[in-house]
Symmetry: C2
Subunit: 375 residues, 2 copies
C-alpha cells in the first residue's frame, strides 16, 4: 500500500499538541488541513462537518480531549475535561461514535481520579457533568497530571488504532468479493475520510489498488450533500482507482448494461434482523441491484449493530433542512424553500436486499449478525 495515497482525516500532532483534520467542507477544491487547539474550534469543526464520518468524529473527539487536557494550565484537569466532553457530545448529538469515544476518554479520567494519590477535594462541586460512572473527580499533583495525560493519550491512540484495524479487517474480507477488472458501485463516503483507516466500503478498493488490480469504481454523487462527488470520487481518484462519478439515478442503467458486479455500501446502523440504515439513496440502489441480481454488501464494524433495534422500523431517521435540496452548492437557488419539505438523511434497506455484511469477523448473513463471536 506504500504507493497508494490515503488521506488522513484526523491526526494528532504530538509535538505542538494539536488536532489536525482535513477540512472536508473544502473538498474537492482544496485539500486544506486545519490545526485545532481550542474547544470552540473542535466543536465548530464537528458541527459544521469539517470532520465527518462516525469513526472519524469519534477519533477527533478523543484526540481533541487529549489536546485540551495537555494544553490546560490548571493543575486539576478534570473539570475542564468534563466540560469539554459534554460540549463535544452536543456538537452532533446523533453521532453514536462521538458519544462512545468521549465516554471512553472520560472513563479513563474517572479511573485515574479514583486512584489519584493527591486527593484534595471534589471537582464535582464545580459542576462537571455526570458521566454515569459514579466517579468523584479529584485534583491531583503534577505527577498525577502527567499520568492522566499519558492515560488519555493511550486511550485516544487505542480508539484510533482499533478503528484502523477494523478497516483493515473489513477491507481484507471485502477484497474476496472483488477481482481484477470488476465493476464496483458505491454510495456516499465510507472511505478513509470517514474513518481512522482505509474506510469500510472503500477499504476493499484500497487493498485492490495496493495489489495493482484494475477495478472500475462507479461512485454515486449522493444527493443532496454530494459526499460521493466531493469525497469518495476525490479520494478514490487520488488512490489511482479508475473512478467514474455518476448521478444517483444512473446506477440502474449501469446495472442493466451489466457493468456492475458488486455494490459496496457503508452503514450507519444495523438492526437485529439485518435491516440497515444508511445514507439516503442506498435503498433504491439495493432495490435496483436486487432486480438485476447484482449482490449488495454492507461493510460495517459489528459495533454498528444496535441490539435495541428489532428491525429497521425502529430506526428513527434524521430529517434535515430542505435548503440542502433547493439551495446548497448552487450559484443560485434551484427551488423555492417551501417546496423542500422532505429531506431524510438516511433510508432503511430491508435485510432481504442485503447479500451480506462485511464485518471484521468476516462476511456474515443477516441471521449471523447476532451470533456470539466465534472463539
Amino acid at each position: 500500500m506504500s504507493n497508494i495515497d490515503i488521506p488522513q482525516a484526523v491526526q494528532l500532532f504530538k509535538n505542538d499538541l494539536s488536532l489536525v483534520i482535513i477540512d472536508q467542507t473544502r473538498l474537492p477544491q482544496n485539500l486544506q488541513y486545519l490545526r485545532l487547539t481550542r474547544l470552540d474550534e473542535m466543536i465548530e469543526a464537528i458541527a459544521k462537518l469539517r470532520v465527518r464520518g462516525a469513526p472519524a468524529i469519534g477519533i477527533a473527539a478523543a484526540y481533541g480531549l487529549y489536546v485540551l487536557a495537555a494544553r490546560d494550565e490548571n493543575e486539576n484537569l478534570l473539570p475542564s475535561l468534563a466540560y469539554a466532553a459534554s460540549r463535544l457530545i452536543e456538537a452532533r448529538p446523533t453521532a453514536v461514535n462521538l458519544g462512545w469515544a468521549v465516554k471512553r476518554m472520560m472513563a479513563v479520567a474517572a479511573a485515574h481520579a479514583r486512584t489519584g494519590e493527591n486527593t484534595q477535594g471534589s471537582a464535582r462541586a464545580e459542576g462537571p457533568p455526570d458521566f454515569g460512572d459514579g466517579a468523584v473527580y479529584v485534583r491531583g499533583g503534577q505527577q498525577s497530571r502527567e499520568r492522566l495525560l499519558a492515560a488519555l493519550l493511550a486511550e485516544a491512540e487505542a480508539i484510533d488504532n482499533e478503528d484502523k484495524q477494523l478497516c483493515q479487517a473489513i477491507g481484507e474480507h471485502g477484497l474476496t468479493l472483488l477481482k481484477p477488472g470488476c465493476g464496483v458501485l458505491t454510495h456516499c463516503n465510507a472511505g478513509a475520510l470517514a474513518t481512522g483507516g482505509i474506510g469500510t466500503a472503500l477499504a476493499p478498493l484500497y487493498l485492490a489498488a495496493g495489489r495493482g488490480w484494475q477495478v472500475r469504481l462507479y461512485c454515486d454523487e449522493t444527493r443532496p450533500l454530494l459526499q460521493g462527488a466531493r469525497l469518495t470520487a476525490w479520494e478514490m481518484q487520488r488512490a489511482g482507482i479508475d473512478t467514474t462519478l455518476i448521478c444517483d439515478n444512473m446506477a440502474a442503467s449501469l446495472m442493466a448494461a451489466g457493468r456492475i458486479d458488486v455494490a459496496l455500501v457503508g452503514c450507519d446502523r444495523v438492526a437485529r434482523n439485518g435491516d440497515i440504515a444508511n445514507k439516503i439513496g442506498t435503498l433504491p440502489l439495493a432495490i435496483a441491484a436486487h432486480y438485476y441480481q447484482v449482490p449488495v454488501y454492507s461493510c460495517v464494524p459489528l459495533s454498528t449493530l444496535d441490539a435495541d433495534c428489532a428491525s429497521g422500523a425502529d430506526i428513527v431517521i434524521e430529517q434535515r433542512d430542505g435548503g440542502e435540496i433547493g439551495e446548497l452548492w448552487y450559484a443560485e437557488p434551484m427551488a423555492a424553500p417551501q417546496l423542500c419539505g422532505y429531506n431524510p438523511a438516511f433510508d432503511v434497506v430491508p435485510a432481504e436486499l442485503i447479500t451480506g455484511y462485511v464485518t471484521e469477523r468476516g462476511i456474515l448473513k443477516a441471521d449471523e449478525l447476532m451470533a456470539p463471536a466465534r472463539p
Copy 2:
C-alpha cells in the same frame, strides 16, 4: 381550469409577428419571455434549451417558420424558408418533433408551390434543401405570397392545437388514475413547459387541480439537468398543487412509507414491445415502484411510438457532456472533469415495469400499443 395558472411555453404574437417563448434556462428564478423574430435567435433558443420538450420545440419551429416567412420582404418566400427549415432541424438533431413539425410546414410550402399561379422559375436552382417531397419550389406574386402565409399560419396553428388536444385527452384519461388526497410521483418535466398544452404526465394533475382535488405531488429533481426542480416544481406550485421537491434518491423511501399511490412519467420514445426511453432516472423509479407495487404509467401521445424499434435495445441513448454532472449549476466545481465520463440523457424502462400507457386513445397495455385505432 380558469383559475389555474398554466405557463405557455410557446406563443405566436400575430400583431407584431414574433415568436414568444418562456426562457426556460432562467427558471425558476425569473419568468422571462423572449421575443424572437430572427432565425439566429430561434436556433439559439432551441439549441440552448431555452425552449425544450419535444412538442414545444416542434411548435416553436412551426410558428418560427411562419414568423420568418411573414417578415421576409422577398417576393418569393421559398428559398429562405427552405434554408431556415434546414437550419432549425440542425439546432437539435435528435428532437423527433422538431424535424416532424418542420417537415409539415415545408410540405405546406411545397404544396403551395405546386399550385402557385405565377410560376416564374424554380427556386431549387438556388439550392434549398430537398425535403423529399419532389416539389419544385416556385416564385409567386403578392396574392400567392399571402396565400402561402395563410397556409403556413394555419399549419402552425394546427400543430399547436393538435398538441393541446393530445395533452387534454391524455390528461382526462390519466385523471382516472387519481383521486383526491392521493400521492403522485413524477420525474423530469412533462408539463405545460414541454408542450403546447397542459403537458402529458402533468396533464392529469392540472385537471385534478381544476376540480379542486387536493393531490400530493412528489417531484424528482431529476439530476443532472434538474428539470424537476427548475421546471416541474415551479410549474406545479404555480398551479396551486401541493408539491414536494425531492432528490431522485428519495422516492424509494416515500414508496416504502406508502406515500406514493401512482407514478406518472413522460416518454421520449416507445418501442413496439412497450419498452420506453425516458429521462435518466426513470428506470430506478420504475424498479422501486415495481418492488413496492406502486403502479407506473407512461403518459405519451401515440406519435411517440417508434415502429422501427422492436425493443428498448434498439434505442440509441444520447450521451451528454460530463460537465453537467461535475460543474453545471454549482458555485464551484464538485468533481474533476475526468471523473465524469458517463452521462446518458435517457434510460430504458422495460415494458414489464410499466403498468400502462396513458395515450390519447385511452390507457393501453403494452400489447395494445401497436393495435390499430378503434373506430
